[in-house]
């Protein structure tokens, strides 16, 4: 056995151990999860991400509901996405997803939600922007009760109750004319400049004069989004909010002020609600099916290719491990078609081994020595292995493009796992199996030729 083979063998063993440790469903120390810098900081984890079909939940495709011919105002989709996201966050789910898609859609995914009908009402409802009087600077995200919509008597009654604090609403978003991010000409700091409707200017001027140096909290859907302090009276209905904002923060606040309510009405173009139990059953069944299928593949390879088959089976085990590891690391959201793509790729993964082993047998039948036959097998089969893997990758690219259509999004999961499997397969079937075969032949030597059944000739 050459030094290179020994080194490769040791490295592969190390890789196996690391992968096994990371894949096992045990508690991993926090510093390991912190190493996953490419994952968003808030949701770094070493858990499998399960798609909606595997954990149940709701997927909704929203589109602006505009009269035919009316164009979507600039920024309206982004603003709507922002508002929908805030509402969804208020539902308190673990991993909600709200993103724009193309120029006219918003996708909302709420995994594991129990009541999809209520969630859809929440998403499409009209938001309420309020400015409330408070004695302290409330932290953003604090839920509050306000007097909005109550008559004076009701408000007094509500505020008399001491159990929950009721804040009085100074004005609502309807009084706001415009809001935009602006930078201070002296300090260069970002803030938000706003303008009020002329009808509200006088009232606001009076209020700010009376409540100087007191907080005025901005509340969206009864949740505090910002709590600036009144530094000076605002006589002409034009004021600004400062605070150590970055441009993004200022812009986000401006959008929330401008579009307290959704800038365009949204309609649901498509949605899918999957019961949570259904998903759980699917996971269990897929795992069982996968284990049975793979065990048969292991047995087949060992029975058909004997010694080589053992090397291939070990490489396949590493293949499975590496795939699972990447699903966790990247992370890749697992769906039923995704699992199918993975299992299929595992079944196909031995193709490269088979190509090599068949070549190897041919070389042995021509009377070559064991070592030569093995090397010739690997090098001569390489073109075929490369071509067939390239063809599969090409198929995956086409499928991935197809999967970009909303209603075909399940296809994407299949394409991704199949493609990933194909790439990993090049490593395990060539590098890993080759090392295992060299190690095995190095240990046994040409004695193996005296026992042809070992090689399955």
């Amino acid at each position: 056995m050459s030094n290179r083979t020994t080194t490769a063998f040791v490295l592969i063993l190390l890789l196996t151990l690391v992968a096994l440790y990371l894949v096992l469903p045990i508690q991993h120390p926090e510093w390991i999860t912190n190493l996953l810098f490419w994952q968003p900081e808030a949701s770094r984890s070493l858990e499998f991400q399960r798609g909606l079909d595997l954990q149940g939940g709701l997927q909704v495709l929203l589109a602006p509901d505009l009269p035919a011919g009316q164009a979507l105002p600039d920024g309206a989709l982004q603003a709507s996405q922002q508002i929908v996201e805030n509402r969804v966050n208020a539902l308190g789910l673990t991993e909600p997803l709200v993103q724009t898609r193309g120029s006219r859609n918003i996708i909302v995914e709420l995994p594991g939600i129990a009541d999809p009908e209520q969630a859809m009402d929440t998403i499409r409802g009209t938001a309420l922007l309020e400015f409330i009087e408070s004695s302290t600077n409330l932290l953003p995200g604090t839920p509050v009760t306000t007097t909005y919509g109550l008559s004076t008597e009701e408000a007094t009654a509500a505020m008399a109750l001491t159990t929950t604090q009721v804040y009085s609403t100074v004005m609502t978003g309807a009084e706001l004319k415009d809001a935009y991010p602006s930078s201070d000409s002296q300090t260069g700091e970002w803030g938000v400049t706003f303008e009020l409707q002329s009808t509200a200017s006088a009232m606001f001027a009076q209020y700010t004069t009376d409540h100087l140096n007191r907080p005025l909290c901005i509340v969206l859907d009864k949740v505090v989004i910002s709590c600036p302090t009144i530094r000076s009276a605002i006589p002409d209905g034009k004021g600004s909010i400062s605070g150590n904002f970055t441009y993004e923060e200022a812009n986000k606040l401006a959008i929330q002020l401008r579009y307290g309510a959704l800038p365009v009405p949204l309609k649901i173009e498509s949605y899918k609600a999957v019961g949570p139990t259904l998903g759980q059953t699917s996971v269990e069944r897929s795992i069982r099916a996968g284990v049975i299928g793979l065990v048969i593949v292991f047995l087949f390879m060992i029975i058909y290719y004997r010694l080589n088959g053992v090397a291939a089976a070990l490489a396949l085990a590493l293949y499975v491990l590496l795939n699972l590891l990447l699903y966790k690391l990247v992370p890749i959201t697992m769906t039923l078609p995704g699992i199918a793509g993975f299992l299929l790729s595992a079944g196909m993964a031995v193709d490269a081994n088979i190509l090599v082993f068949e070549r190897m047998k041919e070389e042995l039948r021509r009377g070559r020595s064991l070592g030569n036959a093995a090397e010739a097998g690997f090098s001569r089969a390489w073109t075929s292995v490369r071509d067939s893997n390239l063809a599969t990758l090409l198929t995956c690219v086409i499928l991935f493009v197809f999967g970009n259509a909303f209603a075909a999004s399940l296809v994407k999961g299949f394409a991704i796992t199949l493609a990933l499997g194909t790439v990993i397969n090049l490593f395990t079937a060539i590098v890993v199996t080759r090392t295992f075969v060299r190690v095995a032949f190095g240990l046994i030597g040409d004695k193996a030729l005296e026992h042809p059944w070992l090689l399955g000739i």
């Binding site: 079909d53 495709l61 009908e117 859809m120 009402d121 649901i268 173009e269 498509s270 949605y271 899918k272 609600a273 019961g275 949570p276 139990t277 259904l278 059953t281 699917s282 069944r285 897929s286 069982r288 099916a289 996968g290 049975i292 299928g293 793979l294 048969i296 593949v297 087949f300 390879m301 058909y304 039923l336 078609p337 199918a340 299992l343 299929l344 595992a346 079944g347 196909m348 031995v350 193709d351 088979i354 190509l355 068949e358 071509d387 067939s388 063809a391 599969t392 090409l394 198929t395 086409i398 499928l399 493009v401 197809f402 259509a405 909303f406 209603a407 075909a408 399940l410 296809v411 299949f414």
Partner: protein, 313 residues
């Protein structure tokens, strides 16, 4: 050595028979449903309810609820065995309010729907149209990719055109047979052509092209090695040399797919079954259609003379 190529007459008969059966299935489906392929809501838009009732339900009861809610002509179908109480309903696109009204009415009039084990899927026709467009694009891209791949693989072979045509005919037989199978299941089990079906088909096409190329590559390699042998013999030798690999690979993929079919979740069965049938038919067509076409063509053009003369170019 088994004389594989000599059986070609039988292979052609079987292939033709399968194609005819598939076309018949498509015709029957057209006659029954007005659609040769039953297209799912993924492409057309509409709604699909899979409802798990907690007590036995009746088809008429379910249909009545949908019609009361203004959804004319829903297609109601029982899934699984009788005591599973699992039903599937297809109807036009419904808004979330309508869906919620339907669920409540089902609870009241038919039997409690177990929400945790049910799914509601509804697609606006415009969204469906987008999927159809992307699907068309994918099929077009696949066709171009297949042609380019074949052209690239055979670019240095004499009579590359024959190899190309033989591969494409084989692939088309495979596609028709897979479509036929799916249509048959559509008639028997109500399977509809959805995004995943197209995925299975495209994947199988990808594998099928590879398989043909492996055999043809071997033929090309063997022609200069066995000069003077009749073409038929060279081809036969090449098939025998590659058949182990083809069968071993297909078998492994099939083991996994059969395991998913038998033990996996129900919703993915049509997808896996399509892939499995496509793969079996692909193994057959690559060996028993593509190869014999090549032999017949080569022999017709040469009157059975050795192939080596022009194979050294």
């Amino acid at each position: 050595m088994i004389n594989f190529v000599q059986q070609r007459r039988w292979f052609f008969i079987i292939a033709a028979g399968l194609v005819v059966l598939s076309l018949v299935a498509l015709g029957v489906s057209q006659a029954i449903f007005g659609q040769a392929l039953r297209i799912s809501i993924d492409f057309t838009g509409g709604s699909l309810f899979v409802l798990q009732f907690q007590s036995p339900a009746t088809e008429d009861g379910i249909r009545q609820v949908f019609e009361d809610q203004g959804l004319a002509g829903p297609i109601v179908q029982q899934l699984g065995t009788k005591d599973e109480n699992l039903w599937q309903v297809r109807a036009r696109f419904v808004s979330s309010d309508e869906a919620s009204a339907i669920m409540n009415a089902l609870d009241a009039q038919v039997g409690t729907v177990d929400r945790a084990n049910s799914t509601v899927d509804t697609v606006d026709p415009t969204v469906g149209a987008e999927v159809t467009r992307t699907a068309g694009l994918a099929v077009l891209a696949a066709a171009v990719a297949v042609l380019l791949f074949i052209w690239y693989s055979f670019r240095r072979i004499p009579h590359a055109f024959r190899y190309g045509v033989a591969s494409i005919v084989a692939m088309m037989v495979n596609v028709v047979v897979t479509l036929g199978f799916y249509t048959l299941m559509g008639i028997l089990q109500g399977w509809e052509v959805n995004a995943l079906f197209l995925t299975a088909l495209l994947t199988v096409i990808g594998f099928s092209v590879q398989d043909v190329i492996v055999v043809f590559d071997r033929i090309r390699e063997n022609i200069p090695r066995h000069r003077g042998e009749p073409f038929e013999l060279i081809v036969n030798r090449s098939v025998m040399e590659t058949v182990h690999r083809s069968l071993a690979t297909q078998l492994n993929a099939m083991f996994v797919m059969i395991a998913i079919l038998l033990f996996g979740g129900a919703s993915i069965k049509p997808f896996i079954a399509t892939m499995l049938v496509g793969m079996v038919s692909e193994t057959f067509t690559s060996l028993c259609v593509a190869v014999p076409i090549l032999v017949v063509w080569e022999e017709r053009s040469q009157g059975g003379k050795p192939a080596s003369a022009q194979a050294t170019a």
